[in-house]
Amino acid sequence: MASTPPIDLPSHATGAGAFDTPALDEGSALFEYLLRLGDDSLILGQRLGEWCGHAPSVEVDLSLANMALDLIGQATHFLDHAGKVEGKGRDGDALAFHRDVLDYRNCLLVEQPNGDFARTMARQFLFSTWQKLLFRHLLGSTDELIAGVAEKAVKEVTYHQELASEWVIRLGDGTDESRRRIGDGLAWNWRFVPELFEMDDLAAAMAGRGIGADLAAFRADYDARIGAVLAEATLEPPADQRPILGGRRGHHSEHLGHILCTLQFLPRTYPDAKW
């Protein structure tokens, strides 16, 4: 059985009381948590949208665009709800189009560049496997909106996970070139997996209140699923790398700014533009 992504985090990584981890009241904590959920979906949806018209075949093009649509739908629900919780009159659009890099709370994995098709599928495989397990746990959230979106989206994300897993297997157990490319793609994205399971103070508080998920609860399940697909793909898991963290607190790679340039250009340049 293949080994699985490294997820032992350095203990100093999630220090409390630092400038980027302020103590939050209950409303602000829920707002922040909803941004994490919504921003993951929004940024990955935007990334997948970049493939539109460029995928290897029209069927794949449709698959990627459909997954993007599902993810942006999730983001709309989470961010609209975040705006209501915040109570400052912002809706999902305001949060998507009028926040800057430092205010985004997505994990670093979703903002990674598409690279080639294999790298995109590697990213999708690592993310959707996680998101499906996350949403399963959020079915029991005491927040009605979070539980409702999870109930709806878990069926959609099952498709994402299956599609990505099938591609990992097909590419891994394919030609020399496809095998090399999916191996490279997994190696590129591997170091961003530990962040998916990071339980910082906010995540722990939200899990404690019954709103958020205890990420540690499905880590073993995640490892097993990733390992099973890699084994079927005849791929060795990439070598462990130093985990990279920070997205949940607004510390992003340079890539996010470039995504936001495209994502936010129109509503910022033409503020009253109507669809």
Partner: protein, 151 residues
Amino acid sequence: MVAAARLEETAPIWAVLAEVADPEIPVISVVELGIVRSVEPDRVVITPTYTGCPATRVIERDVRAALDAAGYRHVRIETALSPAWTTDWISAEGRRKLHAYGIAPPATQAVRCPQCGSADTEEISRFGSTPCKALWRCRACREPFDLFKCH
């Protein structure tokens, strides 16, 4: 008595909704699609088919316009995410209309070609022209067709 009076009030609203077509598949109504979850004298509850379905907003707008036009301006529209919509809620009549329109209705067993009726069919792509459909092909008549995904 109360139930009868209530039915008298809600039946005409159901009738209005039965005329509102799904924007993506105009041969079936929103009622046949199963997204109208409840009708009360002062509110209609609808549920989206898919989280990111762009038709959701159009449906809400179309329902609003139909209600207004029929004199039900006071009836408000609410959206409920839970329980999540499932293709099991598509009515028998809705399934028949989908098939006649060239879209294979959601199937748990053999998928039948809506053109020639053959069950000798295969999946081309799990994702199709809209979030609710997959792309299939008939091996018998060679025609590609949409399958309403079982969801």
